[in-house]
Symmetry: C2
């Protein structure tokens, strides 16, 4: 073996960030996201260094940005940059000998101690002349003049230095550095995607339930894209930006599941939309009961008019009736008896689903999926919610997402993988723009503090979390048994603690009854069409609709809430009172800082009184702060330690905006 050491530079740069796996993958960012760039850099001895970020935008412009020293003792250098262009940003860190500040520090100390006074002036003069040599025009003359002044007679060295500093010597020197011993880090990349990749409010409904009606004979008439168009207003009025639809393709009839996941479907049971494909078509086809392709196009258009994007489901599996089964049997696994393998988790069988075999004909299947995705992109779909990506090869997704994004960089893939962390993180690195996460199962303060910090800081470079309060698959015991306060608490945290949150319809109606022994709603919409009386709900005072509407309004009005990485958790003395803040500095918000502080009682069954202890620096504040509760309109003056009382039965949260 030869030398396996990387050559260390003259000024060591031992770490840079953001970075994923030593540069193997780009760090994720979204348009408008504030990213902390930095490095660990240091030198031998006492002399000072300067550290700069060389940041190259997707358009190719390179800026040099001076980094500031970070946490004491750690040789960290950082800056925060708001990314304002889509595409790949590249950066390097440059570290060099800061001769001017080394000299200035020594000069100030020595003049104070009356040591070597004329000598340090002479050294200053020499240094400024060297800076001048490297410079042109006005700055050259100014540096030369300062050099002469430092060694001029008539006044004391201390007076000469003081005069020069007041006249702007430091700014001038900083503008014209020599960058002696400059060392560059390896280059790294940050991929800046559009805002909805990382920040947005999502809603989910089943189009067949929207506008569905119960007929006189007790049967249900399915909704469709035409009736569902009317529901877009409801979604829009609550302030959602993305509407995700479960699969809209023809549904298999073989082994179709009945209500509550029973094995035998009745003649009127509509089946699970995830059992994709029948004689009418497969992944490239619209379920006839939902309408025509024209109806779907019109639906997408109507949504877009309301500033709602449609997210489509991409579930790579087939019902036994899917056209692929006949046209491309090599995309499935043939068992030893010649039959096609259905899904199973032995000894459980899922005979309504044929999983794909990704290894028999990888190129053929890839081409087919690319064709399907490309078709729906042509219909105006720019977001795909991928069903169970963790049961398909990671390298397939990496290739598919890269290929789709090459032609359509605006397309977003959301990974629905609830599995072990290694896989969830790998899918993020493979390119998934967004991922469902374990937020639904983090309900107590301590576990929220730990998990929210992980999401906002530890994994944010490669894993963008979507905080869903419920889904057709998820109705946690917290919601089943927490009553209406539980719904309010979860929506409040989801909408304000991450950057993307999501809600599946029915949540705003407090639908909380589970199929016995399961963590999902009874009479699940996966297997039945649900008829909901939205008119009555809207008239009622007893829904979560006003709260959801308020939360999405606050998100729009307070850009700090749209960021992921700015989350800071604070302390409270109560084991159930969660406190966190989000701060966006004035320079990243048009000159005015935006700071939100959330205090929430995570126990839905109690009234809690406690003291909240704030990290004021994280709020961009000192001493007293004036805050307005954006839920009640109340105003308070807060400081480092604050009394709070939160009654979950009336209002479990403060959402405070820091006014000054």
């Amino acid at each position: 073996m030869g030398n396996v050491n990387k050559v260390i530079g003259r000024i060591p740069i031992s770490k840079v960030w953001p970075e994923v796996d030593g540069g193997d993958f780009p760090a994720k960012a979204f348009l408008g996201e504030v990213i902390t760039f930095g490095a660990t850099s240091f030198r031998e001895g006492h002399d000072l260094i300067a550290v700069e970020l060389l940041l190259t935008s997707p358009k190719g412009d390179t800026r040099r940005i001076r980094l500031a020293e970070g946490r004491p003792g750690l040789d960290e250098w950082t800056t925060q940059i708001l990314l304002d262009q889509l595409g790949n940003w590249s950066f390097q860190v440059s570290a060099w000998e800061d001769e001017y500040h080394t000299w200035l520090h020594n000069a100030e100390v020595k003049l104070q101690a009356s040591v070597d006074e004329e000598l340090v002036m002479l050294e200053g003069e020499r240094l400024l002349r060297r800076l001048a040599e490297n410079t042109k025009g006005k700055d050259k003359k100014a540096l030369t003049d300062f050099a002469s002044q430092l060694v001029a007679s008539g006044t004391s060295p201390a007076q000469r230095l003081s005069t020069a500093l007041q006249a702007g010597l430091t700014e001038l020197a900083d503008r014209n550095p020599l960058r002696n011993l400059e060392t560059l880090s390896d280059p790294r990349t940050v991929l800046c995607e559009r805002r909805l990749a990382g920040s947005g409010a999502w809603y989910e409904f089943f189009p067949r339930s929207e506008g569905a009606t119960r007929t006189k004979d007790g049967n249900i008439r399915s909704g469709n894209f035409k009736t569902a168009v009317k529901s877009l207003d409801r979604v829009s009025q609550m302030g959602f930006e993305v509407l995700y639809l479960p699969p809209i393709h023809p549904i298999g009839t073989s082994h179709r599941k009945g209500p509550n996941n029973t094995l035998i479907a009745g003649p009127n049971d509509p089946g699970s939309p995830w059992a994709i494909g029948n004689t009418a078509g497969g992944h490239d086809t619209i379920h006839p009961e939902l309408g025509t392709e024209a109806d779907f196009k019109a639906f997408v258009k109507a949504a877009n008019k309301l500033n709602i994007e449609i997210a489509m489901d991409l579930a790579l599996q087939a019902s036994p009736d899917h056209p692929w089964v006949k046209s491309n049997p090599q995309w499935f696994t043939q068992r030893a008896d010649g039959s096609i393998a259905y899904a199973e988790n032995p000894p459980k069988k899922y005979q309504d689903i044929y999983p794909i075999n990704f290894d028999n004909d990888p190129q053929g299947f890839f081409d087919e999926v690319l064709r399907v995705v490309t078709k729906w992109i042509s219909f105006g779909v720019k977001i795909f919610r991928v069903d169970n990506p963790h049961t398909k090869p990671v390298d397939f997704w990496q290739r598919l997402i890269a290929e789709v994004n090459r032609a359509n960089p605006e397309v977003i893939f959301l990974a629905e993988a609830f599995t072990r962390p290694a896989m969830m993180h790998a899918l993020g690195k493979a390119g998934f723009q967004q991922s469902y996460c374990y937020f639904s199962w983090r309900n107590r303060k301590d576990e929220l503090v730990e998990y929210l910090n992980e999401l906002a800081h530890e994994s944010a470079n490669f894993f963008r979390p979507a905080l869903w309060v419920n889904t057709p698959d998820i109705l946690t015991s917290y919601l089943q048994f927490g009553g209406k306060p539980a719904f309010k608490i979860r929506a409040t945290i989801a909408a304000t603690a991450g950057a993307t949150w999501g809600m599946y319809s029915g949540f705003e109606l407090y639908e909380s009854v589970a199929r016995p022994g399961a963590e999902e709603n009874i009479d699940s919409e996966k297997f039945e069409i649900r008829v909901r009386d939205w008119d009555a709900a809207l008239k009622s005072q007893d829904t979560l609709i006003p709260r959801v509407t308020l939360l999405n309004k606050l998100r729009k009005e307070n850009p700090a809430l749209g960021q992921l990485r700015n989350l800071v958790t604070h302390y409270s003395d109560d084991p159930e009172v969660l406190v966190y803040s989000k701060h966006l500095a004035a320079e990243h918000n048009g000159g005015k800082a935006n700071t939100i502080l959330v205090v929430v009682n995570t126990d839905p069954h109690s009234v809690r009184e406690t003291t909240v202890h704030l990290n004021l620096q994280a709020l961009g504040a000192q001493g007293e702060i004036k805050v307005t509760d954006l839920i009640t309109g109340q105003k308070f003056v807060w400081g480092e330690h604050n009394y709070v009382r939160l009654d979950s039965f009336t209002e479990p949260a403060h959402i405070l905006r820091v006014e000054s």
Copy 2:
């Protein structure tokens, strides 16, 4: 920008270890060290994978070693390997579809549930025939026979499988895998250096003090290499393996420091050995008062005879009288007034020292240092203790160590850098085989638990800690005010918690009086010759010599203590009772496990009673364990929870060997 993504393999391998900075530097190991190799690897869906380590020894032999699953839910795969060859080991991780175990798992579950019984047998038959195709000789025949048996008539599927398993089917299949979908990680390197690089017992003395005598007129007659030879017996009898000598070169006379670091030396003051160089010579010269080059050679030889290696100081700085000042003024910094810059930390001046300028003539100075080091290597010196490496450029050290180790891979460099973590870690990555660390300032239980775990686990791949109890520069307040129990406690922990420990002479005599306001001994040997009455000390019962001797004997008898990475800390209910263990598995110790459990009261002023809670798995034990206290010889039966009483005034520690 093009594609910046690393291509993910069919079976993702998202992390391998040991690894330093994504492979930028080799991981450190020493001969006989047990290293945990591993990977994070997983696949989509439910099918099983196998993960193997492809380990190539420095001689070029490659082994495949099957990894075992690590902690649940983390997709970790690990194995432990004792490295038994010097040089660069390289490794890759291989992950592949484990078709046999996937089939076996499904078959067992299905047979249990009476589902698809003949079909799984048929699938087994097909699989075994495929394995057989890939195989030769006896195994081919055996696989074919098993294949036929699985589908033979006459007995039930469950009976056929059971018969095959009892006949060794699994071992056979594991020996002949297909390795379908095999994915390889990037290669990584582990540099295995000799044992003393990472594990040993060190002693420090000033040769001029060894054999020094007080003359009748009250002056002191310096010791020298001839008189110091006699002291080697003392060092050897205590069981030390390395003897480190402060600089042995001529000492400058200009601005020589007097006793207790005073600015003016008297005519008989010997000066600090670190003020190197006078008219007699510099770094390549022996101080005439210590003897001749022949005397030094004889001293090294005498030490080696006692199995003691000599570590020499490498302090790259000069007194104003050093020959370099005239011969190579470009190796120093010229100030604006033409004078040579002495060391300073403004406004403090250290006029007895000229620091080196590493940037004026880097090649010339590098060559000179290489010449000096090479000279002493030719005298039998194989260890250099580098003074203040953090005040010299890191890239200089990386180059020097690589160059020296190219010709002399056995040479060890020890970094004496007490500074911020970024620099300390960078020096380890630059190649320093060993480093002083902050152990001296970690005295309470909690800080020891945190720091010892950092040293043994977080930083062990690139930073090998030497745990010194004291040095001529370090006499902590814990030792100043902790009394004799403090000395016993510190030696016990240093000798058993890390892998390398060190002691500077005088520690065993409880020398604890500090220069007022300082953290070092009064009348420091750095500036004076110390006359100690070792004969009286050896006769006295009141020294730490017996304890130190016992500790080094226990280290030799218990190889678990010579490992760094096997440290596990356990819990006790008392905030001062520290508990840790070191376990060496039987397979890495000639068939017999070696396990040491240390319980120590870190409060030198108290008697503590508490309960110790053991992680028995980390001790390689279950249920009850029999232990012998290696200090007192007492035997106990311990379990998961154990009462202890530790009286610091008599015996602050248990050092327990687990007998079974």
